[in-house]
Amino acid sequence: MEKHKNLIAIIGPKGGVGKSSICANLAIALSRLGKKVVAVDLDLGASNLHAIFGMRDSKYSLDDFVQNRVKKLSDIIVDTGLKNLGIIRGGDVPVIANMQYQKKMKLVRHLLGLDFDLVILDLAPGVSHNVVDFAIIAKKTLLVTTPEVPSLLNAYSFIKVAVFRRLSFFLKYKKCPEILELLERAKDFENYPHLKTMEGFFREAREINSEVTDSAKKTLSGITPFVVVNRVRTGKDANTGKVIQGLMQNYLGIKSSELMTIREDIAVEKAMARMKPIMTEAPSSPFCRDIEQIALRLCE
């Protein structure tokens, strides 16, 4: 799968980690850096990005596009009133959360056709294939977690699913059923402990077909999530990101390119209660400063 240069995926495998809040405010920060940005709420069936911008009503949402009531995705972009920034409101019809393949591909085509410098995708929690696929095609992926164990576990599991899905696509494309079978066994690593790490998997796969294995390994080098630890209150909290990075590298062969932290900030809740993005309400707050650092890093 090709990576697309202007797509940034925000994923938070565990719900409630602040993903949408980060998405909305990061979009504002990037637009202030002069980028023409559109934030797309792909938390299908449970959208809330528009609420963070204080939008109670809008004429269109993704439901209208997915259900063919409008032809072009660009027709449903809503002006936020902020310079360089539009949003696409997510759908509320539960069925679109399980979009058919053709509809998903149509959505991807239209996303790529949007005339914006950056398209920021606010993806749903969980590890469904729809979510993983959008994360895989994005040029940059922000993996948002909080310092708590359940959130860290979900973050790791998301990357694991992405790794297996990407390898599975690749091996099917290369028509290599023997290695695909080995990949299936690697999922059951309790019974195949030598396949517990990707290194172990590749070692055995190389004995089947070294050329395909080396290419497969290269495809994984494209998965380089930015780990973002949100609601950091202590140095120990910040270090949880390093732990998850270490596990991803040691067991999944994934090198996370960045580790960024966002400080816990009471001003976020205040802004949420007022249904305003904190970037406009309290731009000097620690949260906003950390978001600005992430925006700068994404623009490098």
Binding site: V149, R233, E264, I266, S284
Partner: protein, 142 residues
């Protein structure tokens, strides 16, 4: 460092409200007016949090606060005042726990002070770091 909150404010009403609300929330809070000697007062009391209400200070005093903040690496600082003045602290590299440039919001100040003090408790050394082992266990990687 003690659990004292040191408030610097020339505005008796704003400073008094802040002090009262903090005390009502169970914090020890001391209100001081003069910036001259603030450095010594901070050194003497070793407060857990310092609040500078810069809305009523003269420009020269704000400069002193700015310089002082640059030396308070290990003391959490909360800044209250008009945005036109608080903006001067932007880009200086000074770490501020909270900048409140709107109307005085005692509830927000108390919440931030509580947060700062709760962190201090959490940051006390713990019995070894087992996060990696816990994660490996749950992920069945051990």
């Amino acid at each position: 460092m003690s659990d004292l909150v040191l408030i610097f404010s020339m505005d008796d009403l704003r400073g008094g409200i802040t002090q009262k609300v903090l005390k009502r929330s169970g914090f020890e809070a001391l209100l001081l007016r003069m910036i001259l000697g603030a450095k010594d007062a901070i050194a003497k009391h070793a407060p857990g949090v310092v609040i500078f209400d810069i809305s009523s200070y003269f420009s020269e005093e704000v400069n002193q606060i700015l310089n002082l903040c640059g030396t308070l690496e290990h003391t959490p600082v909360i800044l209250l005042g008009d945005r036109s003045i608080t903006d001067r602290f932007e880009g200086t590299g000074i770490r501020l726990e909270l900048v409140l440039s709107g109307p005085l919001d005692p509830e927000l100040i108390v919440a931030k002070v509580k947060e700062v003090f709760s962190l201090k408790v959490e940051e006390k050394p713990s019995e070894g770091d087992t996060l990696e082992e816990d994660l490996k266990h749950f992920l069945k990687l051990d």
